[in-house]
């Protein structure tokens, strides 16, 4: 399993300040060989989409624990579309209730990760998805 050569943006949209999950994933992806960029806190979906395009990333991982995942995912997808960047794969992590996961997938999230999933599985899933 290797993410060598892959560029991934880990982002915190909205006002949520819980960044541990984002940082853990960033570290794990970096350990797996990816070039990881982390936005820091309180970024708008528009800003995240622009950074994703400017940095020419393969994937964006949104970390959301504030309960605003539906709105923030939809808006990020829209912002990526507007920049003609729908080819960038979108992943979502955080406190995402099971009932909401299908809706996020339909909106464009390629996979959804929650805190209890083993890191190796998260990395493997991203790896498999980017290879597909």
């Amino acid at each position: 399993m290797s993410l060598n050569g892959k560029r991934i943006l880990i982002a915190k949209p909205g006002l949520d300040g819980h960044d541990v999950g984002a940082k853990i994933i960033a570290l794990a992806l970096r350990d797996a060989g990816a070039d990881v960029i982390y936005t820091g806190l309180r970024r708008s979906p528009d800003y995240i989409a622009r950074v994703a395009v400017d940095e020419d990333v393969d994937a964006v991982g949104l970390s959301i624990l504030s309960g605003s995942h539906k709105e923030l995912v939809a808006e990020t997808v829209r912002c990526l579309e507007e920049l003609d960047a729908s080819d960038i794969h979108l992943f979502v992590g955080g406190t995402i209730p099971r009932e909401d996961q299908d809706e996020l997938r339909e909106a464009g999230a390629r996979a959804i990760f929650t805190a209890e999933m083993p890191l190796d599985d998260v990395v493997a899933a991203i790896d498999a998805d980017l290879a597909s």
């Binding site: 006002l15 309180r42 605003s68 991203i126």
Partner: protein, 547 residues
């Protein structure tokens, strides 16, 4: 496309993992525990009396016999009206203090109409953008008869000013106010993320609230120095206490710089921690922290008044120790943590609801959380005598070990150059992130056992709870409508005048900003307006991103 989202299972994980047959021999903080502890291993078997220096056994001579701890459940969501209704429900159920959860826009200093607040109004707490909302929040609740805790940091001074203004409006003398504002910005930079201003002006604002509170609301705790969030973000119990005491010392230095008298203000410093699952380590963390704080204040600042040496703290049981898998097991976890909090001598306790790992508690789960405390308080008998574990060889030995390890953490920060530098550089943030990654790896590898998650699973186990809490989707629209109505109806000249005075005072380091903020609140200036005014003078914190 991969289907990573449907509960992936690595080979090491879940039902495939062989359960351990022996307990681990080290605590989560990494202290190696001998199979048996004997008297000769304890540094000082006699820790003196509770209520006496160094307070290892507690700060009150009679423990909980004088008064039980405050049962204080964190709560608040949606509009002020809905939260007011929930508070009245909790008070009717025997809760003895209020704990106000605020939404993220209020915590980060944005009004509900700000574009960045768009999706977050009323989500993780109640929206409290101006005095009119605070009046609704406390409608029918006599603020002189209840102690209220606000989990607020970046805008703590403003929310505290608003609470003073509510008292003024209710005709309650301010000196009768009791409660707490968290008001601990240092840990926000490290773990919780609701910072606004750079470190220096933020420290000034905190000193201002404490000094103002000493005079105007002498029974109110204007700070609750919190290790809880650093803990939940990934640190060990030892680091939680170490970082918190280091932050406490940094606040003392700032208060002294601004002319405060340590004998006086130290009496109102309070603390806040998590209780996680390792029972004895948690109990000993509190015993060691209490002893170390009293020693540090004596040795470093020459504090003499016993009341100023007393380490008073609240706790929350739950947080990241709660598990999404088999969620009803969390009732048991919180019960154990609740007992550790009592054995450790906490002054106020918040027990999380079993479903709090992923949603705002329902009325049903919130009630079980309160009942847990009442069972511990009134059925278990553990509150009957002070420090019931005191004198146990193991407990005294582990307290010694914890004290030594906590001291090392404080020393390490001081060697680095102090808390402020550690935070500005992102050094502390990086350490926490690395520790969190380590904690996660230990769970993934099975070194740390979490029942129902990495061991003792069932293929068909129910991960969800029966009842889901649903926020009213119209709540945020109602908040915005009320906000716009307020802006149309208030006296604009008064607002402008109070904000101009605030701006002028912010530019002058010698001024205490609290009276200006209270004036702004009375004029119905909004949180967003006050914060924007202060930003013109101070700018914003620039987050160091370091991995």
């Amino acid at each position: 496309m991969s289907d990573a989202s449907s509960a992936p299972k690595s080979e090491k994980q879940g039902a495939y993992m062989e359960p351990p047959t022996r307990p681990s021999t080290t605590t989560p903080s990494g202290i190696e525990v001998p199979p048996v502890v004997t008297a000769d291993m304890v540094r000082e078997p006699d820790q003196g009396m509770p209520g006496e220096f160094p307070f290892t056994r507690g700060i009150f001579p009679d423990g909980f016999r004088g008064r039980l701890w405050t049962i204080r459940q964190y709560s608040g969501f949606g509009t002020a009206e809905e939260s007011n209704e929930r508070y009245r429900f909790l008070l009717d159920q025997g809760q003895t203090g209020l704990s106000v959860a605020l939404d993220l826009p209020t915590q980060c200093g944005y009004d509900p109409v700000d574009p960045i607040a768009k999706h977050e109004v009323g989500k993780v707490g109640v929206s409290l953008s101006n005095l009119a909302e605070a009046e609704i929040l406390f409608d029918g609740i006599d603020v002189s008869g209840i102690s209220t805790s606000f989990t607020i940091n970046g805008t703590a001074s403003i929310i505290y000013a608003m609470y003073c203004a509510v008292a003024d409006k209710q005709g309650v003398p301010r000196e009768k106010l009791t409660g707490t504002i968290q008001n601990d910005i240092l840990k926000e930079y490290v773990a919780r993320g609701t910072w606004i201003f750079p470190v220096k002006p933020s420290m000034r604002l905190i000193a201002d609230t404490i000094l103002f509170s000493n005079e105007q609301t002498p029974r109110f705790n204007a700070i609750s120095i919190a290790g809880a969030h650093v803990r939940d973000a990934g640190s060990t119990a030892v680091e939680e206490m170490g970082y918190t005491l280091a932050n406490g010392l940094a606040y003392i230095d700032e208060l002294i710089r601004r002319g405060g008298d340590v004998e006086k203000f130290a009496r109102r410093l309070s603390f806040f921690f998590y209780v996680h699952m390792d029972f004895f380590e948690e109990v000993c963390k509190f015993r060691a922290g209490r002893r170390l704080w009293a020693k540090l204040l004596t040795e470093r600042y020459g504090v003499k008044d016993p009341k100023a040496l007393m380490f008073r703290f609240g706790v929350v049981c739950g947080g990241s120790s709660l598990v999404g898998a088999q969620p009803y097991n969390n009732v048991v976890r919180v019960g154990i943590e609740n007992m550790a909090a009592v054995m450790g001598g906490a002054q106020s306790i918040f027990t999380a609801a079993f479903d709090e790992a992923y949603q705002i508690p329902t009325e049903h789960s919130a009630e079980i959380a309160v009942r847990t405390q009442q069972i511990v308080a009134h059925e278990s008998g553990i509150a009957r005598t002070v420090d019931p574990l005191g004198g146990s060889y193991y407990v005294e030995w582990l307290t010694d070990q914890m004290e030594d390890e906590i001291t090392k953490v404080i020393d390490e920060i001081e060697v680095y150059g102090g808390v402020t530098k550690a935070v500005e550089d992102g050094w502390l943030q990086m350490k926490i992130a690395q520790r969190a990654a380590e904690r996660k790896r230990k769970v993934d590898s099975g070194e740390t056992v979490i029942v129902g998650q990495n061991y003792f699973r069932r293929e068909d186990q129910n991960e969800g709870v029966a009842e889901l809490f649903k926020l009213d989707p119209q709540a945020s629209a109602r908040v915005i409508e009320k906000f716009e109505r307020l802006r149309d109806s208030r006296n604009d000249a008064e607002v402008a005048k109070s904000l101009a005075a605030l701006e002028k005072a912010a530019a002058d380091d010698k001024q205490n900003l609290m009276p200006y903020l209270v004036d702004c609140c009375h004029a119905y200036a909004t949180v967003g307006e006050m914060v924007a005014t202060l930003k013109t003078q101070w700018g914003e914190f620039e987050e160091p991103v370091r991995l």
